[in-house]
């Protein structure tokens, strides 16, 4: 019985210590970031009008054979403007192939924007009502999906691509994916 008493005495401290440890770990997490359930699944199928040529469509077949960055953006999104320079740089220096998804935007404004600030995208698909983006699990802008040669989503970047994200995560990932067979 004595041992039971000893356990009872120290139990509150042990429970408290566990909770404290949990909260300490919790400080390093980001509770409002939602992970994507689409990782390692084939990219959703879509067929959307091309921003720069209304007669053509952009479809998921674009992904075959090379690594693509699908970037969800809009002219009304402040963070997208901040990210834009980084995208141009990556398109030029690292030869990243960007497919833009223009989300719930005005096509005329979007075209003007690209003309004015530069176009990092190989192609831009127009998702004017946001329905296609729902299939991708988009909940904010900008978001970027990394698609491999087989058309499988391998990573999702929530928020703008900054230097940190590129050096630590995206660059090694791109190298790895480029070495994979199609």
């Amino acid at each position: 019985m004595n041992r039971l008493k000893q356990v009872r005495s120290i139990l509150p401290f042990i429970i408290f210590a566990m909770i404290l440890f949990l909260l300490w770990r919790g400080l390093g997490l980001r509770p409002n970031q939602v992970p994507s359930p689409l990782i390692n699944q084939s990219a959703p199928e879509f067929s959307l009008p091309d921003l720069l040529d209304a007669k053509k469509s952009v479809t998921h077949k674009e992904f075959a054979g090379h690594v693509t960055f699908v970037n969800v953006w809009a002219t009304w999104c402040v963070s997208c403007a901040e990210e834009h320079r980084a995208l141009l740089q990556l398109a030029q220096d690292a030869h990243i192939e960007f497919l833009g998804l223009n989300y719930k935007d005005d096509t005329i404004a979007a075209k003007k924007w690209l003309q004015q600030y530069g176009n990092p995208y190989k192609r831009v698909a127009v998702d004017s009502d946001g329905q296609a983006a729902i299939d991708w699990g988009v909940y904010g802008t900008p978001e970027t999906f990394v698609i491999d040669k087989k058309g499988v989503i391998r990573y999702k970047q929530v928020g703008p691509i900054d230097n940190d994200a590129w050096e630590k995560t995206l660059k090694p990932l791109v190298e790895k994916l480029r070495n994979e067979r199609a």
């Binding site: 946001g130 329905q131 909940y139």
Partner: protein
């Protein structure tokens, strides 16, 4: 005068007028299901609110999707699965019962039973002595 009207009308994102915010249902049951579904799903933008309450454009879009699927005759589970496939379990305010959440669902009951049983056992034992 007119300016204020315009302000309130224009302040609301355009998307809310493309689709009517008020949904019409053919049956009370459907309306009930819509209400239940939207109040048990989490808005991903305004994460403290349910899809029913949130004014975020994404919430309006998702409400529209739910409405559309209801009209197509899909079941509650199918609609929930549709959203979970895209946004993960985060969107469910009512957590699923599975291998990772059994402690959450059964914990309180186990705690209560352990507490009560231990208490009764303890008193009985001590009185025997």
């Amino acid at each position: 005068m007119k300016k204020l009207f315009l302000l309130i009308i224009l302040f609301v994102p355009l998307q809310l007028f493309a689709a009517e915010d008020i949904y019409r249902f053919t049956s009370v049951n459907d309306q009930q299901r819509f209400a239940t579904l939207t109040t048990q799903l989490r808005c991903l933008v305004c994460q403290n609110q349910t899809l029913a309450e949130s004014n975020a454009p994404l919430a309006a879009d998702l409400r529209q999707q739910i409405y559309r699927h209801l009209q197509q005759g899909q079941s509650d589970k199918e609609i929930a699965d549709y959203l979970v496939a895209r946004y993960g379990n985060f969107i469910l305010y009512r957590p699923l019962f599975n291998a990772t959440t059994w402690a959450l669902w059964l914990g309180p009951l186990l705690f209560l039973l352990t507490g009560v049983l231990y208490l009764l056992y303890y008193i009985r034992q001590k009185r025997r002595d």
